[in-house]
Amino acid sequence: MNLASTSTATNNVVEVKEVCLDFHTKDGVVKALSNVDLSINAGEFVSFIGPSGCGKTTLMRVLADLEKPTSGSVLVNGMSPTEARKQRAYGYVFQAPALLPWRTVQDNVLLPLEIMGYSKDQRQKLAQEYLQLVSLSGFEAKYPWQLSGGMQQRVSIARALSVEPQLLFMDEPFGALDEITRDHLNDQLLRLWQQTKKTVVFVTHSIPEAVFLSSRIVVMSPRPGRIIDVIDCNLPADRTLDIRESPEFLAIAQRVRAGLAAGHNYDD
């Protein structure tokens, strides 16, 4: 890393250049990512959308240093993803809640705080604060199995937020939830993003979810995984779920759908 790249990266939280990633499987090489270029500014809410196998999760895992790209350069906060991970620059919410069954809700939220060596008082304070933020006060002493799927996922969001990262990676966090719970959590997440001004990178395969939440939508396509369209999405900040009926919402959704259809090869 040189000084020049640091200074140019002041506003770019994420800077991806010509990234390729090949998986070597028994059936040959799978091009999970092919020549991906992307930059994400501070405070943006960027969604990756695309069909299964388009590399959207892989791209996010590359940013989080959970996968290594085959070629290309990636900067997160002006650092390599490994350095960013070592500095605990981001929070990551997985597809499943990934809670430890032997820990209570409170203790699950405390996990990253313990690992990162926060003082006992701070740990308690932060856990309380973020459990309250996801409306789970009063459930501290419950165990994960005593909660519904939606509540479990909210615990995992509180856990990711508790260390107060400026960057949040969310990998289809609501994918396994029912429509009503998902709507509710989408609404909560939007408020949360507006309140905290965090940078959020969000993976989804739901068009309405992407359009509702995002300030920018990255449309991806499989075989090889690549970006085929980037759509700005500047819906009013005070939007509610009702906006999904509005013409401007439908226009953006239509463009996302067209992008997905263009990138999709139905011969597969």
Binding site: Q87, Y90, Y92, P101, W102, P112, I115
Partner: protein
Amino acid sequence: MTTSIGRKPSATIPVLTVVLAIIMIWYAGAINLNSPQIIDRYEKKGVDWSFTQLATDSWNMKRAVLPSPHQILAELKTTIIDKNVTSKRSLVFHAGITLSSTLLGFVLGAGLGISLAVGIVYVETLDKSLMPWIITSQTIPILALAPMVIVVFGAMGISGLLPKALISMYLCFFPVAVGTVKGLRSPQPMLVDLLNTYSASKWQVFWRLRLPSAVPFLFASLKVAIALSLVGAIVAELPTGGQAGLGARLLSGSYYGQTNLIWASLIVAAVMSASLVSILGIIERKVCYRLAGGQEISNEL
């Protein structure tokens, strides 16, 4: 030997039926195995005999080929209740000796097994180099190894508990090592990724994720190991020439044709083994209940 860890009341009747069937087969077997000698005796004396006579005599024969259950019970009563615990003829005394070496061997074996597993999971070269040796070690028959170990230690002036415990350890560590390796590798990749996003150290991952995830696997192995440990202790007592321990009682029983003693010792060994496994089962249920966050889990033996 049937062991019932019956908690559900519905299990009682089937278990009792099986026990009853075994007892009936046993009595029938006693007639079958003991009657040739009895008939020989009848013919020498030239007495008339009926089947009832034959059955009664087969079931009460001294030094029977197969003693009947009530004879074994009588032997158990004399050797456990009637004899003073310090007596060399008390099975409690001998069981105590076997138990101490079983437990020491189990602790040593479990310790070795867990240490090896941690090494294998955390050090890649150990994974490649150690596992073949661990497997090879188990292909050596313990019956061939036990006398050598006892003799070698005896020559070095070490006898008694330690050499026997080492044989138990040798049998014990294998299931523990294999089970623990599997357990330590059992966490979902997602949970490992999660801790990686926190940039957690290896030991933080070990204590907070790998070890708790390994506990159910560990208990399954420990239950196998403690039963093997008892086998090891008994095998180790055989070459000592029948001094002390259940193995020694088995040996002297077969020297002097005291089949009652052999069976009584076997039953004490089996009850001891079943109790040890059950105790571990109870601890397992308590610990796993806590690890599941108090969720009721079915965890049959």
